[in-house]
Amino acid sequence: MTESRHESLHEAMERIRGTRVWKSIFRREPARTNRTRSLAIFGNLLFHFLPVKVREKSLRVRVSYYLGSISFLLFIVLTVTGILLMFYYHPAVPQAYRDMKDLRFVVTSGLFLRNLHRIAAHLMVIAVFWHMFHVFYRGGYKPPHEFNWVVGVILLMLTLFLSYTGYLLPWDQLSYWAVTVGSNIIKAMPFFGDKIRFLVLGGNTVGENALLRFYVLHVVVLPLIAGVFIAIHFWRVQKDGGLTVPEEPASVEPSLSGKPDSEK
């Protein structure tokens, strides 16, 4: 009885696998043979993501452990909480500040949500800087990592821009004056400072247009650019031979591949 039912279930599954819909979604056969199994492994997304080889040394728990990953994780946290916050936010004067009040006083766990976003943003700036220092002192800017170093610097700038554009959005005194000061710093640039400031603020003062511009930059433009550069960054980590480790010529510690570091 049970066996016949198992049989029929199996047949049903096979029939489904034979349909055009199934085939259009899943490119490969089920992993039944060695070939299909190895294809499943090599086709796995994580192999694009994780380095081919990892040095034991880089896995030791220390203060600089996983800083890049922590930055990425914070980016994910910020994306998720940011999308949730967008449900409650209008980039308009004076509704923007009222939305802050609503988040605090009315939305269930709204304050927690806002704090998560804000604290994660602060932590991300710290983590990214720390990551940069760490890579720098490890000599991560040297060949063959030069390009990824440059990508990292761009990501650092993007992180700071995201942080700064997000700062205006609560539309309180702190944010208003921070952006006023910041945009006046832009104005101090020789020759075209005025023009750039006008471009950034969408006007000559920090007003409704500035809020809208900062909002669009904060939730659409900068995160998309950052996403692209993060992908490139990860891809290059893998292509450039994994995480950087300080060169220790005298080292005889075995690596994952069983060969000394110097031979890699």
Binding site: E56, L59, V61, R98, K101, D102, F105, V106, T108, S109, F112, D172, E253, P254, L256, G258
Partner: protein, 712 residues
């Protein structure tokens, strides 16, 4: 480390991971727990528990919702969540003090809370659902709730006119106007008087330098700590005038020197006929006769004098002109004669009527004022001054400008000052961070700041130019309330439509011959004409419908009061026949009420039978004599009706008896619901009351006003 050990995880690591995971989960749990324990949710639960202890639980919980309650008024920009915790606000059964807050019923107010929200009046943070955030100044919200003792300020933010429900606000606004605060500060709804203080361009002709010194040192008008206004040490109803400036001896000398040389228009001394002087000079009672004339002319309607009775000294008389108790020690005799004959020659905007004088009267009254209304001690403590030196005048002029004297007083060569003090039109909405408390120990609140400034301007800024005002604590609170009501232009355009402003009637300027007489005798200082003018005497807007012309002429020439208990009466102007006729003509033709139909009652025939019935109704049924006098019997609340037949027009009497409030809205004459027959009978009876011949001379003695103001 061997490759095969790579994947192994030490026990220590496992423990560390387990502990940090637990901490992480616990941290995640903080938010939901805090969410459950929010203040407003606790209050919601407390209200349900409270309602269950009351007999009317069911009704109290009828529209209970466990979520947030709010009043949302987009056009006012109001999102008030106060009712989330203040649950019982609209419940009629929870008004007593035993009900714990925040559940008590809101006291009755003229507005519906649902239409206006809470923060429009109470301020604070309406959107907040936490106790401290909603009520107090916090890091992200500066405007705290308005303390309840200043709550009437909120009425004044929208209502720019006087409100019967807000006496404290009205008092505060009155005081702001009386103290002439608008001379130096821009105020909301209180306009700057054209001439807040006397014109000093010619002061050197009027008073001596010693007197000026004395006045600057101790302005006679002081509102003491009890809030009573004292002039020369006598209590008075007069409004407070010059405040006390902090002047040192050098400044006093310089200022008095500068003012004593202000002689912009020389006065031509009037020479009284020497024969008149020769005749009256010898009479010992010339000053007493002057006093009699002074009283007969009813100078006291506008000017007060100190009168001592039963050991108590009080100022008695009107408030329109200055108090005159010590005028003889103040003014220059030549100036006095010139002034009495033509006040406008010295002061073009003076409110004093230009009396018609005989030399005899002028001599007697001036003798009275210069010899009886004096105080030999007035200038006793004052040093004798020489004529002011050029240097003193120069310093005095600088002082005059620096101290802001030109804000209230005009002097030639000094441009008028305006807005010497800060603009206060938006003071009531200021945040604490916008106020400069200096090193003072004033409570860091807006009302605290205003109160301290009013009590002593030097507490905040030792170099403050603002003079010292002496006010009672209650008055200070009233002024603070009025200032707190000045919240600047309304926040949104939608709100602006809600501002209720007071409407001032246009000035009444009459044309032609009537206009000249009207201006000469300054009728509008006491009487109202179509909403413009003083409130001291009856409104004359409809006088043409009320009084008969021959009576008016007689009355104007020799005003005989209709209300003998009043002390403020119409002065005797010694008007000529021609002037009286001009006034009576204009009044009877132009100033008529649309509610009184001259054809309606005028054509009626009143028979003696009707009059007899009317007399009976008057005396028996309606007991009119309890308020009105006929002959020598009757009350003093209403006017004397001895001469009603000559005085009042029948159509007026009919309309009046039908509905007195339709003609004079605030009259205290009751509305009796007479039948038409009764009205005709009473009118017929009043028409028979006529006095023949010349009237008796006006009452000369001053009486204390027992029912002053009750005559309205």
């Amino acid at each position: 480390m061997p490759a095969e050990e790579m994947g192994k995880i030490s026990r220590k690591m496992r423990v560390a991971f387990a502990v940090s995971s637990m901490i992480f989960v616990a941290a995640l749990a903080i938010s939901p727990v805090k969410d459950l324990r929010l203040e407003w949710k606790q209050n919601k639960r407390a209200y349900v528990r409270f309602a269950q202890t009351r007999p009317d639980t069911k009704r109290l919980l009828a529209d209970f919702r466990p979520g947030i309650d709010q009043i949302w008024l987009p056009e006012l920009g109001v999102v008030d969540r106060c009712t989330t915790c203040h649950q019982g606000m609209a419940q009629p059964t929870l008004p007593d003090a035993g009900v714990p807050q925040p559940f008590r019923t809101h006291p009755p107010i003229p507005h519906r809370v649902g239409d206006w929200g809470c923060t429009v009046c109470h301020r604070g943070q309406g959107a907040a659902t936490e106790i401290a955030e909603a009520h107090e100044t916090t890091l992200a919200w500066e405007q705290p709730m308005l303390p309840m003792k200043y709550i009437q300020a909120s009425c004044g933010s929208c209502h720019r006119n006087a409100l019967a429900e807000a006496p404290k606000l009205n008092r505060g606004r009155e005081l702001l106007a009386e103290f002439n605060c608008a001379s130096c500060h821009k105020l909301q709804g209180i306009t700057r008087a054209a001439m807040p203080g006397p014109d000093l361009a010619n002061i050197g002709n009027k008073v001596s330098r010693e007197w000026i010194y004395k006045w600057l040192k101790e302005p006679r008008t002081v509102v003491d700590a009890d809030g009573t206004v004292k002039v020369n040490g006598y209590e008075t109803e007069e409004s407070p005038r010059m405040p006390q400036f902090r002047l040192n001896e050098k400044e006093l000398v310089a200022l008095s020197g500068f003012l004593s040389v202000q002689r912009s228009r020389s006065i031509a001394p009037y020479k009284i006929d020497p024969r008149v002087i020769a005749r009256w000079d010898k009479q010992p009672d010339v000053a007493d006769q002057g006093e009699t004339r002074f009283r007969q002319m009813f100078c006291s309607t506008c000017h007060s004098l100190a009168v001592t009775r039963a050991g108590e000294t009080k100022l008695i008389g009107g408030e329109i002109g200055p108090e005159l108790t010590k005028v003889g020690s103040k003014v220059n005799p030549d100036w006095l004669l010139a002034w009495l004959r033509n006040p406008q020659a010295y002061l073009p905007h003076s409110q004093m009527p230009r009396y018609e004088w005989t030399d005899e009267d002028l001599y007697k009254v001036s003798r009275y004022m210069l010899t009886k209304l004096t105080d030999s001690d007035l200038l006793s403590g004052v040093p004798k001054f020489e004529a002011a030196s050029a240097e003193e005048v120069e310093t005095g002029k600088r002082m005059f400008i620096e101290k802001g004297c030109a804000s209230c007083h005009a002097v030639e060569g000094v441009p008028p000052q305006q807005d010497l003090g800060p603009d206060l039109t938006a003071l009531g909405g200021k945040n604490i961070s916008e106020l400069d408390f200096g090193q003072s120990k004033i409570p860091r609140t807006l009302p605290g700041y205003i109160q301290a400034k009013l009590a002593d301007p030097t507490t905040v800024n030792p170099a403050a130019r603002m003079p010292q005002y002496h006010m009672a604590a209650a008055d200070r609170e009233a002024v603070t309330t009025a200032l707190l009501s000045m919240t600047g232009p309304p926040a949104t355009s939608a709100r602006e439509k809600l501002v209720v402003s007071s409407r001032t009637a246009p000035e009444f300027h009459a044309p032609g011959a009537f206009g000249r007489v009207y201006e000469r005798y300054k009728c509008a200082v006491c009487h109202q004409f179509n909403g413009f003018g003083g409130t001291l005497a009856p409104d004359l807007s409809y006088e043409g419908s009320r009084a008969q012309k021959p009576w008016m002429i007689d009355f104007l020439k020799n005003p005989q009061t209709l209300r003998p208990t009043l002390i403020l009466r119409m002065p005797q102007f010694n008007m000529s026949d021609q002037e009286a006729t001009i006034l009576a003509d204009y009044l009877s033709l132009s100033l008529q009420s649309p509610a009184v139909d001259p054809q309606g009652a005028g054509a009626k025939q009143y028979t003696p039978q009707m009059a007899a019935l009317g007399k009976q109704l008057y005396e028996v049924k309606y007991q009119c004599q309890s308020c009105h006098t006929i002959g020598s019997a009757g009350g003093y609340v209403g006017p004397n009706l001895n001469n009603a037949g000559n005085w009042l027009k029948p159509e007026w009497i009919e309309a009046w008896l039908k509905n007195p409030q339709a003609l004079v809205p605030d009259t205290i004459q009751p509305r009796f619901n007479f039948t038409p027959e009764e009205i005709s009978a009473l009118t017929a009876y009043l028409g028979t009351l006529r006095q023949s011949g010349k009237a008796a001379p006006a009452h000369a003695s001053i009486k204390v006003a027992a029912v002053r103001g009750a005559g309205k």
